[in-house]
Symmetry: C4
Subunit: 189 residues, 4 copies
């Protein structure tokens, strides 16, 4: 199996997921400065989801750059990854239009967490496909940052469930931004 | 004719078909746990269509990987395949928003069946283009799994028409999942 | 300038234009067989536009396959071509939802005609870029089929303006289908 | 890091941004010539945004054609560029549907200006990545046209804020059209 066409479909789906979210920014009728300011939950939700999907794509890009073998299982875990991500626009819009109501943030946080777990499964599957001693596995084994994200995201979900959704959302933002810290900072600690 | 650009357009259209379906997940206003649970027909319809279009793409990917010649007829049967698939988001949304009403499942099942028939025509055309003794034809001739899908899908359509749409939909799901069973299991039986 | 990336953007835009039209197929609420039958103008409009954009892409694909030089003017005439085509979903939906009302067919026919004219300009520009004696110009010079389409489309526009929009639409369909007749049939006559 | 896949995602996102704007052209119910004419602010907004995003893509295309090295910072400034551009469909639709109301033109102009500034940051970052004496930096250093656009766009924003939004919009159109004048005209003056 070729990895090229899998990358092409995957990039197409990432590009569409990241862009159709903007369709949920509903045009205000007879807008005033206040009407734009009132839309801040919608804009903030959009910006964070753009960041999250972008980070996810960047990780995928690094991962597949090193990949040399693609199996049928890899194809389908990759599809599962895209399926989970394809629900992000829906969860984002629900959260934005309901001003971070607790249940919407809980579902949004859960979706991001599931997405990281599926990504972890994809990495592990690729490590197994390439062999434990392959260059691929040497580079991608160990995921302190990934495990830490899952734990912190779970805490955010709980914080939202017990009634502090805006704090939970802020935590989700911080966790996403932390992905810009290079891997080795986490590995060496 | 080059197969690269045909693959590029085809992948683009697959990526869009699979992703725009998510736009039909309408944002609930002032959502509660119940409002999400009540949306299950919409989510289930989306998930099954994502799976079906994904399977279709995976088959197309395997097929064109082996293809060495693309004629004008291949281009247009491929377009017909994409046209039929492009109606899936509409049929999916109609079925989901009307909670599996019989007529919507009948139409959904018919669309999936037509799509498999068109795919079969595409395979046969490619076999003829490459010659009966080509490596291509050796690999793709015989389609027990495909013919079985068409028969079982037709049964599902009848079950829906006589008034059991949810059973029909479940059968469509099972048939799709059966595509994960490797070809040779069917061929050797 | 590379032709690859221009092809990539162009294919992306074609794929999106051809697919987003399906978003205009509005989901019927509590559908019956009659409600699907009543939607025939919407389906017919969609099918014809899918065919037209598909034909346009196929021509573009043949054209750029032979292209060896891309100038800045080619880039922008290509963009103009995509701009005109990007209005097709709007014209299609307006025509479908208003059951072929005369003004909507007139505008739809005009758009298709403008699109063929822009395509002709693109071909002529490419012929000039490659030189009159180039392999490119030998293959693409002379456009009896194209000129005939423009004349017949113009007749369809007039037929629609004087109050027979459904006849005009049928003529547009026939003209599109005639593109499947190979070029040399027209050239030799 | 490969530049190919970054280009692929970027082209996908450009293609979608440029095309989904057309979804904001709402189908008139029972249309007359007048109803089309009344839509002119929507069409004009769409046409100008298509031109602006197209120009932006053409610049990006020239830029990355010459790029030889892509760093992580380049990836993320490129993402920021796409994020800003992804808001253009929203700003376009708001401006079109509110017939160039002052606040909508102010926000539209601001978005275009921010987008040019981000593009400038991207160019400077790429110049630093390639080294001041590289072929890349020789070709792209100095941006009289870019700086001039930022200044003139800012004037347009002020004109809109003090209550002449249609004049401001016309100025934005003129500035965009000026990008068709080759670079060296500005450099030599």
């Amino acid at each position: 199996m070729q990895k090229n066409r899998l990358e092409a479909l995957t990039d197409g789906i990432y590009a569409i997921i990241i862009t159709i979210m903007v369709l949920e920014l509903r045009v205000p009728h007879d807008p005033t400065i206040e009407s734009y300011i009132d839309m801040w939950p919608v804009f903030a939700s959009y910006a964070v989801s753009f960041l999250f999907v972008g980070l996810n794509w960047a990780s995928h890009h690094h991962l597949f750059h090193t990949v040399t073998k693609v199996s049928n299982s890899v194809l389908w875990i990759n599809m599962l990854n895209l399926f989970i991500l394809s629900l992000v626009p829906f969860a984002t819009a629900t959260m934005g239009e309901n001003s971070f109501k607790a249940i919407t943030v809980t579902i949004y946080g859960s979706l991001l967490t599931i997405s990281i777990v599926v990504y972890l499964i994809l990495v592990n599957l690729l490590c197994r496909t390439h062999g434990a001693n392959s260059a691929f596995s040497q580079q991608f084994k160990g995921h302190k940052k990934t495990y830490l994200s899952i734990v912190l995201n779970s805490i955010a979900i709980v914080i939202s469930m017990i009634g502090f959704p805006k704090i939970a959302f802020s935590l989700l933002v911080v966790i996403s931004l932390a992905w810009f810290i290079p891997n080795h900072v986490f590995e060496e600690s």
